[in-house]
Symmetry: C2
Subunit: 119 residues, 2 copies
């Protein structure tokens, strides 16, 4: 899915993009802004955004700094900005993030150590 429209259709990716709109952030900072998901989840969405050309990464020590590639969005950039300015949209986003959790719900902690399935 390297298409910009499909990429920004995801509320989670929009959330990330919104953060980066304000300025570059390390992966960790981005993750910190979304405590409801794991680092892995955020990292994956970052890669999706990258593949779509909507963000760029740069390594800085052990950190990876992401920034939004505004130009790549073209007229969609303005659409996003309008969404973000609109407080009604903001409420909708919160609702969507809650509703669109479709991966496995957080599992209860594993009770016993399990050995890895591949040696």
């Amino acid at each position: 899915m390297s298409d910009a429209l499909a990429t920004i259709a995801s509320p989670r990716r929009r959330e990330i993009l919104r953060l980066l709109w304000a300025g570059e952030r390390s992966a960790g900072e981005i993750r910190a802004a979304m405590p409801d998901v794991t680092f892995g989840a955020v990292s994956q969405q970052l890669r999706t955004l990258e593949r779509a050309g909507l963000v760029r990464v740069r390594a800085q020590g052990a950190r990876r700094i992401y920034r939004a590639e505004r130009a790549a969005l073209g007229p969609l950039g303005a659409v996003l900005e309008r969404m973000w300015a609109d407080s009604l949209w903001r409420l909708k986003l919160a609702a969507e993030l809650e509703a669109s959790r479709r991966g496995p719900r957080p599992r209860r902690r594993a009770r016993t150590a399990r050995r890895s399935h591949r040696p």
Copy 2:
């Protein structure tokens, strides 16, 4: 998914919307323009578009006439129009429609009559 962004992220729905942009069409006419899928598939996407408020239906005899609800798209309408005007985008659409066939591939015809699984 009653959100406009997510709704127009689908190339198939965009194709339908594009048709309706030119003027209202019956479900049958829409279906005729997309011979690669069944009537059922088109009907479903029409319902999705309807739930998102992007199209409106009106019954005319046994026919259902659909029309695009341009206003509901807001600034996204202009984005779509730009896409459609751009010939490069047109090529991409064709590619996407081919690529994004993810339901079951057309099965070979049933060889023997099967009775229905529920009486």
